[in-house]
Structure formats: C-alpha cells, structure tokens
C-alpha cells in the first residue's frame, strides 16, 4: 500500500524540450549546414595565385546569412514553449 502511494506521488520527469522544439532545432541545423556547404570552396589550388571567387556573393553574403538565420532559428527553438500554445 505504502509502496503504491510512493509510486503515485513520484513526480514524473519531463524532457525540457517537446517535439516542436526539436523540429525547429533541426530546421535551424539544416539552414546552418546549407550555409556552410555554400561557404565551402573557392580557394586557389596554387598559393601564388589569388582566386577572387573566394569573395563571391555566395560565400561572403548568402552563406553567412543562411548560417545566421539558422542560429536565429536555434534560439527560437530553445525559447519556444509548446505547452503555452496548447493552453
């Protein structure tokens, strides 16, 4: 009897994040990964030769912007409280 009561009173441990948080975490990660993929390349094979492609719009504007958006989504995913929406 007392054992049963103890089991009932035990507080249930919940994960700090819900499904929705993880969904946004993965969306953010996808943006970051895409940003980094777009950032790669552009280096010159010959150290004596400068390749201006390393400073292309894709690498120094688009890619960092995608990474930044991804980081923003990560922050949103952490602060998101799905329980509040349900209430």
């Amino acid at each position: 009897m007392s054992k049963k009561n103890k089991n009932v009173q035990k507080p249930t441990k919940e994960f700090i994040f819900q499904k929705k948080n993880y969904l946004f975490l993965f969306i953010g990660l996808a943006f970051i990964a895409l940003g980094f993929i777009l950032m790669t390349g552009g280096g010159s094979d010959d150290p004596e030769v400068f390749n201006p492609d390393i400073y292309s719009f894709r690498r120094i504007r688009l890619a960092p912007t995608l990474v930044l958006i991804g980081l923003g989504i990560q922050i949103y995913a952490i602060l998101l409280n799905p329980k509040k929406n349900k209430e």
């Binding site: 950032m39 280096g43 120094i60 504007r61 960092p64 930044l68 980081l71 952490i78 602060l79």
Partner: protein, 264 residues
Amino acid sequence: MELIDAIILGIIQGLTEFLPVSSSGHLELGKAILGAHALPEESLLFTVILHFATALSTLVVFRKDVFEILKGLFQFKWNEETQFSLKIVISMIPAALVGLFLNDFIEVFFDGAIIIVGIMLIITAVLLYLADLAKTTDKGVSFRGAFVIGMAQAVAILPGISRSGATISAAVLLGVDKTKSARFSFLMVVPLILGKVAKDLMGGEINFHGDQAVAMGAGFIAAFIAGLAACTWMIKLVRQSKLTYFAIYCLIVGLIAVAWSIWG
C-alpha cells in the same frame, strides 16, 4: 585542427565563460609557459562557433526567464521586463566604450605582461572572497547598479580579471540578491556574444573547409555541454556562497605568476 584539440578548446570555452577563473588570464599564462605558438590556433569561425555554443547554453539554462523577458518586452509597456532589458543595455555601455576608445591601451596588457595577469588574478580572488562574505538580500539590480556592473564587465577585459567573477561580485557587493546577480551577469553578456557572432559572420572574413566540419561540430557540442554544466554549477556556487574555492585558486595562480615574473 585535430578533433581532440577542438573538444579541449570547446570544454575550456564552456567552463571559463561561466566559472570565475579568467580565460584570457590563463591563456596569457599558457603562452608564457608553453610559448606563443604552443597552443592550438583557433580560426575565426571556430571562435564564433564556441561563443555561440556558450550563448545557447545560457539561453537553455535561463530559457524561462528569457521567454518572460521577451514576452514582457514586446508588450511595449514600462513593465519589469522592459526595465530589465534596459538595464542589460545600460550594462553593455562601459564595455562598448572601452572597446571603441581604449582598444590600443588594452592591447598592452595582452603582450606577455605576466606580472599584470598575476596581480589581476589576485584582485579577482579578493572580489570573489568579498562576494562570499556579503549578506543575503532579496534586492534586484537597479539602473545605477546595472551601470556599475557594466563597469566591472569593462574592467574584466583585462587578462586575469574574470568577467563572471567581477560582475557577480560587483552586483553582490551592491547588495543585490546572489541568484539575481548570477542571472544578470550571465544574461547581460548574451546580447554582446550574439552581436559579435553576427558581426563576425557577416564580416566576410570567415571561410570554411568541409574537412573542418567534424572538429567544429565536436567543439560546438563540447562547449555547449560544458557551458550548461558550468552555468548551472556556478549559479549553485554563488547561491551557496562557495566562491571562496575559486578565490583560493585564483590567489595561488596569481601569486605564482607574480613570483615567476619577478624571480623566474
């Protein structure tokens, strides 16, 4: 960069962002002992990733507070959350001014001046000890207090002065509740870190090679987990007035540094 280097650097960043031991001071000591090129070199991207990881760990620990602050802030009313946000902005002013106008002056302290690092570590030790002695109150951070805490943060740019140690001690010595002091200290740096991350990312100086991905990811995870643990631990230590352990550590390292620069 080797995988193991990335993990070690991540753990160091995660711990020293929150624990009051001064990462920059230890870095200067490490350079003096091992030589300027002995430590693994961090790329700008790696630094950005590690800083973002610690900012994220702060956000996870204080997610409820940050959520409430943002919710209150976007009500566009003069409520407690708006006032707290304004205090965070005020606290950032001294460090921003130092960064803008005194950068060249501060560079001098990052030039292997071990005696200065030692003295600053001793000052950190005294501050931590005094913070432990302070009485328990329930007072919050005032606007004037926010500026004073901001000044402590600006002084902590010097190697050997711990940012978290200086700001928490300043707040506690102003009579602010210990838990609120730790909360303010950790939250006040988040906008600065995120701003720096955004500035560095958009600065056009970051490049990425596919073969760095694993090391970067490992560094990020290491910094994030170490940051979570250190942040939670530090809040507990401040609340229980157990900063003296760190005060003793800083005092010993500081004294060794001073003695080494005089007789070494």
